[in-house]
Amino acid sequence: MKAAVLTFPGSNCDADLLWAVQEIAGQEAALVSANTEDLTGFDLVLVPGGFSYGDYLRSGAIAKFAPVMGALKTFAANGGYVLGICNGFQILTEAGLLPGALQVNTSLEFICEPEPLIVANHQTAFSNQYAAGQTISLPIAHGEGNYYADPETLASIEAHQQVVFRYAENPNGSLNDIAGLTNEAGNVLGMMPHPERAVEALLGGTDGLGVFESLIAATKGAVHVAN
């Protein structure tokens, strides 16, 4: 598997993702500047956490104008796997690659804590290594992770089983306890919790490895379109 880790000005989890994919999961990966306009040759594009362009307007609102976004849309439209984590999730919703939006947490506070999650759909490219209904623990670290979508959108998300992870103890007000969800086609996932922060026992747990292992399994033998 060959992964691109996008780097926007202000991204701060890009190096962490690179480390998780390269050093821990043992896959090929490269940092790719948000100024790039070509994502040819990658099986997976990772959109990292952080504060792209400061997140000063709204999380992810400026990043969607980065030069790489056109290529990312093409990549996703062609069925390529895209995983957005935290700010990456916010960017994907702002860019319209995922439904809904992320609001400020109901506590109005940034929250950094390990959070129990339920694997709501284990039959996706991102979760096939987990058991159905399994509870895992992943860290969250965000101030704006409160998932919102209007009622019709929410109904459609549920009808298409797009929710992959739900909070066991909703920390931020997210509708339907949504912690992570895919697009309807199932090749784009956004999640607020950080799987890349849970891949080493030394750092407190390995429950996040499943996400990367699922993608490795999905890319093996799957058909890719590398535009």
């Binding site: 307007l57 609102a61 919703t93 439904p99 809904g100 939006a101 609001q103 919102y148 209007d150 007000g173």
Partner: protein, 83 residues
């Protein structure tokens, strides 16, 4: 030159955590005459150009950048200003 005054607000169906906290605090402080609070953003943008072109440009700017239309709505006015 035009000054665009732009208001961005949560749509009514969206619960706004910031507004809730302010209202709740005011009630806790005994200001029970406060019926409702909304929190929005206010932008001013100065632009050169002809009225209609600027109006179209500001509309796109709001739709694409200043507001997230999944949860926010916007309105704006244009005022001609001298340099």
């Amino acid at each position: 030159m035009y000054k665009a005054k732009i208001f961005v607000n949560y749509k009514q169906s969206v619960l706004d955590p910031k507004a809730e906290v302010i209202k709740h605090t005011l009630h806790r402080l005994g200001q029970d005459n406060v019926q409702d609070v909304t929190v929005g953003k206010y932008f001013e943008v100065l632009l050169e150009g002809a009225h209609d072109a600027v109006a179209a440009q500001v509309d796109t700017l709001c739709d694409q950048m200043l507001a997230n239309v999944n949860m926010e709505s916007y309105r704006f006015t244009l005022e001609e200003v001298s340099q």
